[in-house]
């Protein structure tokens, strides 16, 4: 029944609720915002049932609606919290380089090539914490680029910044995130031998 061209709303929450919620959580990292957007997605889908063509699966259709809601959320956040000077300050981590631009203490060796990290729940938790430590503009830019896989032109529109500013923002976001993961994950796990 769910695969027919007549979506059956009574089944939606049971069938797609978790999936949509996880999709939203990965991008928003905030439970109540994710819940709200999933709810809005279902409501919009209900209102607009006629637009479901049956050419794509129901889940693809719903994710498409959710994705729009998430983009709107980022747009709204960018308007509410415009770039501050700190967002573009050249150096996110002033102690990383000396006066002539050389590393004061360079990146440490993370050991081996931990290729399957994404399967580890604890790593995901740490990544989430590190992303939460970035300013909203940095975290959202990183999310749009690396999680959503948008190109920079599109991200500039959503966040309402110039391309040059976006490069600075992404640089800062990556540098801070790398530092945070090094401190709280890679160095920690070698020290504790876990």
């Amino acid at each position: 029944m769910a695969k027919s061209a007549n979506p059956d709303p009574s089944e939606w929450v049971a069938q797609y609720g978790d999936y949509l919620f996880r999709y939203a959580m990965l991008r928003l990292r905030d439970r109540s915002t994710a819940e709200d957007l999933v709810q809005e997605t279902f409501l919009a889908a209900l209102k607009d049932r006629g637009s479901f063509s049956g050419n794509s699966s129901e889940s693809t259709w719903l994710v498409g609606i959710l994705k729009h809601k998430i983009m709107d959320h980022f747009r709204h956040q960018a308007r509410e919290a415009p770039l501050e000077n700190g967002d573009l300050r050249e150096q996110p981590d002033p102690s990383a380089f000396d006066g002539s631009g050389h590393w004061t203490s360079g990146p440490t060796d993370w050991g081996g090539n931990p290729a399957d990290l994404y399967r580890e729940k604890k790593f995901l938790d740490q990544l989430t914490k590190c992303l939460a430590g970035l300013s909203p503009n940095h975290a959202n830019a990183f999310t749009l680029r690396e999680i959503e896989g948008e190109d920079t032109g599109e991200i500039c529109k959503v966040l309402n910044v110039t391309e040059t500013n976006l490069w600075v923002i992404l640089h800062r976001a990556r540098m801070q995130l790398r530092r945070c993961l090094e401190t709280h994950w890679f160095n920690k796990s070698t020290e504790e031998g876990s």
């Binding site: 929450v13 990965l26 819940e35 279902f42 409501l43 050389h102 090539n113 680029r145 690396e146 490069w167």
Partner: protein, 84 residues
């Protein structure tokens, strides 16, 4: 000569756009000589790859890393759908 500070910015930029040839050569030469910047680049790429793996795993395998939608929220959403 590019400094490490310049090169870290350019490494990030090269992940979003294609650098002009002069800068690309400058970065390449620097990375040949600088262990820290080479490591920095590898680590940024590892983070990118890990995040992509995470997205792929969540979306294809139905995701088990995040908690599901809570029963309370499900109930609330069901009700809102019943009385739109």
């Amino acid at each position: 000569m590019l400094s490490c500070k310049d090169v870290t910015q350019l490494i990030s930029e090269s992940m979003d756009t294609s650098l002009p040839i002069g800068k690309r050569i400058g970065v390449w030469l620097h990375l040949l000589m600088c262990k820290f910047c080479a490591r920095y680049e590898r680590q940024l790429l590892l983070i990118r790859e890990t995040v992509r793996g995470l997205v792929g795993a969540e979306e294809t395998a139905g995701g088990t890393l995040w908690e599901p939608l809570s029963e309370g929220a499900k109930e609330r959403i069901r009700k809102s759908l019943g009385n739109p």
